[in-house]
Symmetry: C2
Subunit: 642 residues, 2 copies
């Protein structure tokens, strides 16, 4: 479905005026400017509300570069790529500067005047990432030239001899490290190091938002917990980790690991979503994880995966791959509609029956996924990420295991590594069976390491139909098979995938006394559409979950691919419509029963079936009511405290 | 403590430049303008961010009018009153217009250009309320003349022959009804009727915020639930109820009652706070009542009391007085610090250990109560409300009970009504004993009706020491004593005030499996300062609450008056620091124990004592950690479903 989302995105980017913005700032004498003059085009107003709209183009180009590299791009897609590159070449100033907002005639602000909100390095970062993708995937260095010129300007402006300042929105850090990797120019790594180290010293000019919003309240190494704007935080952490990967700075890596550990124990939603507040798009306090107001911005999901991936590369720890997987199949995947043409900006874990989401940025409401946004950071971010997921399936040479091919994510794909080629077939994440067939081999002995996710309690592996005494998955999460592989060898991995019930840490108020249901990497959600009783009235026990059945579903035709649903027994504990909001539990009230107010609700309990779908598929139908966390039938105090 | 808060407010209003703003727009030829000319004063910039800062002056004047009327104002207070009145007289335009923002030379916007955000009628409303207070309490009609001239302009501008529009912020509705009551000019009532009826037809120009924010999505009579910006909603409802009180519009009153009922069953915090979201300062969905993100703006508390009072006047129903009392002693009272010089804008029911509140409006953080705000609507609103609470103690002639004096709130006060004077002495809300002594009587038979709050399960009354066969409190909530009163008669009311435990409706996710503790009208909160074990680890059962003790406290000297604290047995269920955020509850995990991740936390349970203070007193000391809702030790499924 990538092509559909890409086409949709190309059209939305065109319609939103992003290319027009670039066209309007074509440099005198450039081909685009000459063309505009010939057409007698008048100066046009900058379109859009934000100074970072060029990044919509960059992110889209980054995704397209992968599609072109794979030979899967059609004419509409390559045309957009070519037109965009030409516009960028024409728009870039002689000094390397490139930003269609600050260059616009109708915008009064001048370049570099507003580092806090100008997003110029953020723009540069996404330009670099598109450029690196085009260079690596297509062998096309035109964008890399543009990006390098702008990056050189940034080095002069903000490098060791430049201004002691940072961009209000971290993002360029990891891009500059990539540009260093791609070009070998250490200036870019140095700038990335500076941007990481300078932040936290109060250099960001504050107007409305606090220093935490920009992670400028304390240096990265000294932060005690992820804080502020979720996307900014996770991009910064990913960038810092990238810096540590290249310069071997152990205190930086330690800080990154420590912040991740704290986040994963106190601030991540079960979906992998990050960001508990709509206000300031902020992460929130430890254990502040209300389902109803989960912000879990789709961009934060991408940033969290980027961070997790880099921590995995730095440490080899599979917990980061587990987290990557959780985010990928839940908080991230939910951001895109089943038809590929509509997006969630925020990803709540609950929609109440009377919910009407109204956000400031989208005054006409944000009832379900939208085709585009006034602040359209998420859709093209989904595009690029979807296109480049191939990069995150397998790795080699992590740590001491130089002769090992690590397969960390399971999907239908071809894997080539140092003369060993594998064809991977699976219906994962809906099934736990993965078949790998060797399609090329140089015959030398290699170790295949297959990740056993933390949620899996039993994994078995066969080679050519025979159970092998594979070194069992240990605490490091890898199931290893060493062999001299020959073409035609078949490896079958089976990951046990029962339906699970999860509780939550007792300090989480938002999900206390509630249960969430998962299978494999998928978190499940109940939608009212599939259930007769009001979701708020349905009570589920751990025992109910043990009797769950897994059934195939295409959501009555609303899902593009066959998914799985879960059906389990449950109880309806209906509440009287006039029941009190805060019933008295002490005995006093009973003594005066009937006099003033009715006592607590007396529900009718009756058995029912509860149907759930994968969380990421929610919101593809009406109506909206949805719950990830269901009321739990708590059997006893001791169990509660287990 | 009123005088301290008033002095503080006067100084903050002066320092914030509110009077300077008025001075700057003095009309040519006015005394203030002449004085400015004589001093050679240059034009000054409008100070402050918002166009409604005149209301800070108006609200302060309203409160001061009561203090002057009671003869309790000192020179600083009366000087402020006189100076303000003079400035307002000089600033008002010939056509009656008065708004120091739109009149300012340095403000480009013109009067009436921006009804959505201009707050001109909102300003007018607060001017009227100050004027009516000065007229009634002081017999001073100068402000009333100013207000009437501005109101006459509003009638010309927006009345039956004027523009079909409303102000973006409801407030003027109830003020215009008051102005009608005070002047007898029916034009004001007509304008109030129009403002109520016009809203909901999409006339408010939308830019960033949605129509719900302004209650402009549906007419008041058709709203199915309170919605949008909490303060706007409650002011509108109070105004609509006031209109119905005067014009007898039953459908309007029915809509108001219906909305109140829905709100009280689905959207009010246990403290009486209204507003569950920081974003858009909005009310939120039904049952969306997270403690940690409770907004419960102090102004919304005042507006809710105004609405409740008007509904009580219209219906005689004591439930509204119960609600008034809940808001007064909890959501409202918490807005002011113990020393009277610092304020909460929002009133959460929980502060987590690592909380750092950062709001957009207050970039330097809002850790505790603040001396003043960039958007200072709440502090002077507290001032006026505190000063005029005397109006809400007793009423006469409600409904058919023309010969009855209803005493609805208990406090130390003198009550005079048609020849009967009472001296009321009580330590309420800390104690349930109220003594009324007759200090004057004309000897005719009168009924005293004493409210028995809904939380009270046992009330007794004696007259001159003898238990009287008072008509027992019935469903109408009044305990009546009829008698020919003579001077010296003593009535003693005893309201049983045990410590109560409250649960919450099962659809409220934010407080599921939690318990709140109350006594009388006071909701109690645990602060970390008084407890050794982390509050998140403390578990309380209903049985624990039944063994609670009430003890006096002055918060180690931090409370100005002697309050009461509650101490009860509880359990510490400590959680391991490294425990999982979402432990698996199903059996699969146990089978592989020790392999991948640790299982759910195994707490050490040990007995402890839990100390609580009245919620409104929280946040007068460090540190910040606070909980109203405590983890509940749920004994069994059946109890949970009770």
């Amino acid at each position: 479905n990538r092509s559909r989302t890409i086409h949709h995105t190309i059209r939305e980017v065109r319609a939103a005026g992003n290319l027009d913005n670039l066209r309007a700032v074509a440099q005198p004498g450039s081909p685009v400017a000459s063309e505009r003059e010939a057409q007698g085009a008048a100066p046009t107003e900058y379109r859009g509300r934000y100074p970072f709209l060029d990044t919509d183009v960059f992110k889209t180009l980054e995704g397209i570069a992968y599609e072109i590299g794979r030979g899967e791009a059609d004419a509409e897609t390559t045309d957009f790529f070519e037109e965009s590159v030409a516009l960028l070449e024409s728009a870039q100033q002689d000094d390397g500067y490139l930003n269609s907002y600050f260059q616009a005639e109708t915008v009064e602000k001048q370049p570099w005047d507003d580092l806090a909100w100008g997003h110029e390095l953020y723009n540069l970062g996404h330009l670099i990432q598109a450029a690196v993708a085009a260079s690596r995937q297509m062998g096309d260095r035109r964008l890399l030239d543009i990006a390098s010129r702008f990056a050189d300007l940034a080095v002069r402006k903000l490098g060791p001899d430049g201004q002691n300042a940072v961009d209000g929105h971290p993002e360029a850090e990891m891009a500059l490290v990539e540009l260093f990797r791609e070009t070998g120019n250490r200036d870019y790594l140095t700038l990335a190091e500076l941007l990481v180290d300078r932040r936290g010293h109060g250099t960001v000019e504050l107007r409305v938002f606090p220093a935490e919003y920009f992670q400028d309240n304390a240096p990265f190494r000294e932060l005690d917990s992820v804080t502020g704007h979720a996307v900014r935080m996770a991009y910064l952490a990913a960038g810092a980790t990238d810096v540590a990967l290249e310069n071997g700075d152990e205190t930086l890596l330690e800080a990154s690991e420590r912040l991740w550990r704290d986040m994963s124990r106190t601030k991540l939603y079960i979906t992998g979503g990050l960001g508990s507040r709509h206000s300031d798009e902020a992460i929130g306090d430890r254990f502040e994880l209300p389902s109803e107001r989960s912000y879990s911005e789709t961009c934060a999901a991408i940033a969290t995966m980027q961070w997790a991936w880099r921590l995995h590369l730095a440490t080899g720890d599979t917990h980061y791959l587990d987290a990557f997987e959780t985010v990928l199949y839940n908080a991230y995947a939910a951001g895109l509609s089943s038809d590929g043409c509509a997006f969630f900006y925020d990803n709540p874990l609950q929609r109440r029956p009377d919910h009407q989401q109204r956000t400031g940025a989208e005054p006409d409401g944000e009832i379900l996924r939208r085709a585009w946004f006034v602040c359209p950071c998420c859709p093209p971010n989904i595009v690029r990420w979807m296109s480049e997921l191939q990069d995150y399936v397998a790795t080699t040479g992590v740590g001491a295991d130089e002769n090992t091919l690590f397969i960390g994510q399971y999907t239908t794909a071809n894997i080539d590594s140092d003369g060993l080629s594998l064809d991977m077939q699976t219906a994962y994440p809906f099934e736990g069976d993965i078949r790998l067939t060797v399609t090329a081999s140089e015959g030398a002995s290699r170790t295949l390491a297959l990740r056993v996710p933390a949620w899996c309690h039993s994994a078995t592996v066969t080679v050519n139909g025979e159970s092998v005494a594979a070194e069992a998955a240990t605490a490091d999460g890898w199931l290893r098979v060493e062999r001299e592989w020959v073409v035609g060898d078949s490896v079958e991995l089976h990951l046990d995938m029962p339906v699970r019930a999860h509780g939550s840490h007792p300090a989480v108020d938002g999900t206390r006394g509630a249960i969430a249901i998962a299978r494999g990497p998928l978190v499940f959600a109940a939608e009212q559409e599939d259930n007769e009783a009001p979701l708020d009235d349905i009570v589920v026990s751990v025992d109910d979950v043990s009797r769950a059945r897994v059934v195939p579903t295409d959501l009555d035709g609303h899902a593009e691919t066959q998914a799985v649903a879960i059906v389990l027994p449950a109880t309806i504990a209906a509440t009287r419509a006039d029941s009190e909001l805060y019933p008295e539990l002490t005995s006093g009230r009973a003594a005066s029963a009937g006099t003033v107010n009715p006592s607590a609700a007396t529900p009718d309990a009756s058995p029912t079936q509860l149907a759930l779908i994968p969380y990421y598929l929610w919101g593809n139908r009406e109506p909206l009511t949805m719950r990830v966390w269901l009321r739990r039938d708590i059997p006893s105090v001791t169990t509660e405290r287990k």
